[in-house]
């Protein structure tokens, strides 16, 4: 089945969604599919009251997390926003721990105290989903500062939404990151809407990547976020720059969310037409890669079905695990407010 891709006037990068190294393609495909099916299950869990509060799904944007995080080293750092389930999974937090966190259970990656918006994991240097727009961008710069302070060669990847480019914290952080040459990738996931406000109605700039122009030595790059290979290729260079030259980059990854801003928001409506959603869904990053692989003969339909089954089983296992995990005991209420140690 051929990919019915239309040229997208909003995206500069027109790289073909072609298959590359079969093993890598399979890995990327699996990574994205796990996020997709996992989040569909989260949507179901939310509908049945298993997941509460604000819950922001990542569906449609999987190529961004997979394209970037999959090439990081274990000692690198990742920090993101409240739309953090996909990044947490790609970074290596187990589906069980992420699902249990969503269920608010003791086996969640934040012991049930964070929830959908606050996934954390010390083992994978996953520094959290953060709930205040823009707030975590200076924190990412601080991680870069610590890397440089110690003379390390790690990088810190900071995911953010398109609305962040208009907030003060973003500019303060980018200024200091450029000024002090901090090894940070600032990744704008431009899904075209900050909640219900389009980028055009919020930012006085055409290309968000041009925000980098204000900061000496900072590269601004536009990337097709529906193509995992494009994301991968473009960020490879930025990661290398950060690692070897300790230089920050601003990456604008153009993507699209297929769901509403959060579980309680409409998928489409006054702020974006249904047709636009339909159009973007034809560029689905997962099915595009799948189809390209099938055409290239590196993936059979049977293999795809097997992958779907394996992922479904993993997701179901995460659900069962989360559902069986106990709620945090009342004693946990007063734990983790302060540590009682000094150094």
């Amino acid at each position: 089945m051929a990919s019915k891709k239309k040229p997208d006037p909003r995206r500069d990068s027109q790289s073909l969604r072609v298959a590359g190294d079969p093993a890598l393609d399979r890995e990327l495909l699996h990574s994205m599919l796990l996020q997709r099916r996992f989040e569909e299950k989260v949507g179901e869990a939310y509908a049945l009251g298993k997941v509460g509060g604000f819950c922001h799904l990542y569906i449609g944007q999987e190529a961004v997390s997979t394209g970037i995080i999959a090439q990081l080293r274990p000692d690198d750092y990742v920090i993101g926003t409240y739309r953090d389930h996909g990044q947490a999974l790609v970074r290596g937090i187990t589906p069980r721990a992420v699902m249990a966190e969503l269920f608010g259970r003791i086996d969640g990656c934040s012991r049930g105290k964070g929830g959908s918006m606050h996934m954390f994991d010390r083992h994978t240097n996953f520094l959290g989903g953060h709930g205040i727009v823009g707030s975590h961008v200076p924190v990412a710069a601080g991680v870069g500062f610590a890397i440089k302070y110690r003379g390390g060669d790690q990088v810190c990847v900071c995911f953010m939404g398109d609305s962040v480019v208009n907030i003060g914290a973003f500019h303060e952080a980018l200024n200091m990151a450029a000024l002090w040459k901090l090894p940070v990738l600032f990744v704008i996931e431009n899904n075209r809407y900050g909640m219900g406000t389009s980028v055009e109605r919020a930012a006085a700039v055409d290309d968000l990547s041009r925000r980098a122009d204000g900061y000496k030595g900072m590269d601004g790059v536009v990337i097709d976020g529906m193509d995992v290979h494009a994301v991968r290729t473009a960020t490879e260079a930025a990661i290398a720059r950060a690692r070897t030259e300790s230089l920050p980059s601003l990456l604008e990854v153009r993507t699209y969310r297929f769901r509403g801003h959060s579980m309680s928001d409409a998928v489409s409506g006054t702020y974006r037409p249904k047709e636009e959603l339909d159009e973007y869904q034809t560029m689905d990053p997962i099915f595009s890669l799948r189809d390209a692989m099938v055409i290239a003969g590196t993936l059979t339909v049977a293999e795809w079905d097997a992958m779907e089954h394996e992922v479904a089983a993993t997701v179901q296992d995460a659900w069962d695990f989360a559902d069986a995990s106990p709620e945090p005991p009342p004693a946990a209420l007063y734990e983790d407010v302060l540590v009682d140690t000094t150094s």
């Binding site: 179901e44 939310y46 509908a47 049945l48 009251g49 509460g52 509060g53 604000f54 819950c55 579980m263 309680s264 928001d265 409409a266 998928v267």
Partner: protein
């Protein structure tokens, strides 16, 4: 496999949803992700999407109906699949849902009315008596409840001091620590208020009357006494025939010699006290002060209540002088004209309810004194005298003794002395 279509929680706060419109008719093929219906949540109109592939076999909820989250609103299944079990289950749910809603609102309603009916009589009960005193004339000079600092209350409780009897020196009359300390050291008795309390006419079942200062002082003193003072009582019956004879004979001598039986009793008590300083004493906490002088307190009933003016050096005064002074003090007490130095400083007290036909009673010690004598009425009593029954004037006295100072025998010896004097009143002249 069939997929149930649930009313989903499409917002974090959504508890029920109204199915606005079915976008897919029964019998239509649907794929996962297709919009089945529009649902109005508490926030917005949202889309309910299919979570499985197949045919929308059944719609269980009509357009416009509202059902709780997690209700089954439809079923997606293969065209030929048996969905009988789901149908019967879903129909049951759909049928009970409105009923449940109705019964829950009924519960709310009855709870509300229960609250109303329960509160109505309760408030009536509470407000009526409160309102009653408000109709009664307000006593001039009345005050509200005693204001006091928490510390003062605690000290009063620990020290057995009646807070209400103390005039506070803090702002707005607040009783504070120093007032309690003063009261406990005995110097803090508040001066009687000059306000004139008139007893309110009885309207209704009862009348609340604010405490006068004197009533507060009485309460304080007496409570202080009965609490911490280990008191015991000695009762004796005296033959008063000779006293009565002596009084009659004296009165016959003219007005200058007219005294009451009570005056003679006072004189006898004073004289006996002079001989028994061991009962003429003050308990001062860390010491006992025995007096060589006799300052005799005499309880006087007034319209406000009890007050105890003092006849100073009563043992040194002749009957005539003593009688005159006791009359004057009693009169002043009734007119509320006593000055503090006229009712403080007594070393022992006498309370006489004989004129009220009380045969015998126990009086409460007026601290820091250690004893008080309660005098009963004179009565014609048949007694055996020299082997024959004869009628004599008899009087019962009861002495209350602070055991910390006065032991039983000590008190008894004093009463023996008093008996000797009253039964031989000639002794009082010497």
């Amino acid at each position: 496999m069939a997929t149930k279509v649930f009313m989903e929680a499409l917002s974090p706060t959504m508890e029920e949803g109204r199915l606005v419109k079915w976008n897919v008719a029964e019998g239509t093929a649907v794929k996962s992700g297709d919009v089945l219906a529009e649902v109005e949540t508490d926030k917005a109109v949202m889309e309910l999407v299919a979570r499985g592939d197949g045919v929308l076999r059944k719609q269980f909820v009509a357009e416009g109906a509202t059902v709780p989250v997690s209700s089954v609103v439809g079923v997606i299944a293969a065209a030929d699949e048996d969905i009988g079990a789901i149908v019967s289950l879903a129909v049951g749910v759909a049928a009970t849902a409105p009923a449940a809603a109705a019964s829950s609102s009924a519960v709310t309603a009855s709870a509300t009315s229960a609250t109303n009916t329960a509160s109505a009589p309760a408030s009536a009960q509470v407000t009526a008596p409160v309102a009653a005193p408000a109709v009664a004339p307000v006593v001039a000079g009345s005050t509200g409840p005693t204001r006091s600092s928490p510390l003062a209350r605690r000290l009063a409780r620990e020290g057995g001091v009646n807070l209400g009897a103390i005039a506070g020196s803090g702002p707005g009359g607040r009783v504070i620590k120093r007032d309690i300390e003063a009261a406990m050291s005995g110097a803090g008795a508040a001066a009687p208020s000059a306000t004139t309390a008139s007893r309110a006419a009885a309207v209704g079942d009862f009348v609340d009357e604010p405490l006068t200062q004197i009533r507060k002082t009485i309460a304080k003193r007496l409570a202080e006494s009965i609490g911490p003072i280990p008191t015991f009582f000695l009762t004796a019956e005296f033959d008063m025939s000779r006293v009565v004879e002596m009084r009659t004979q004296a009165a016959a001598l003219g007005d200058d010699f007219k005294v009451s039986v009570n005056d003679i009793v006072l004189k006898a008590v004073a004289t006996a006290l002079a001989k028994h300083p061991e009962v003429n004493a003050h308990w001062l906490g860390d010491k006992i002060r025995f007096f060589n002088r006799v300052h005799l307190g005499m309880a006087v009933a007034t319209d406000d209540g009890l007050i105890v003016p003092v006849i100073f050096d009563a043992d040194r005064k002749g009957l005539r002088e003593l009688s005159r002074e006791s009359r004057e003090l009693a009169a002043k007490a009734r007119e509320r004209k006593l000055t503090p130095n006229e009712y403080t400083g007594s070393t022992f007290s006498v309370s006489n309810l004989g004129m009220m036909q009380i045969d015998q009673f126990t009086a409460i010690i007026n601290p820091p004194e250690c004893g008080i004598l309660a005098i009963g009425a004179l009565e014609d009593t048949p007694v055996v005298l020299d082997g024959a029954v004869t009628v004599r004037k008899r009087m019962r006295v009861t002495m209350s003794c602070d055991h910390r100072v006065i032991d039983g025998a000590v008190g008894a010896r004093f009463l023996q002395e008093l008996r000797r004097m009253l039964e031989n009143p000639l002794m009082l002249v010497f």
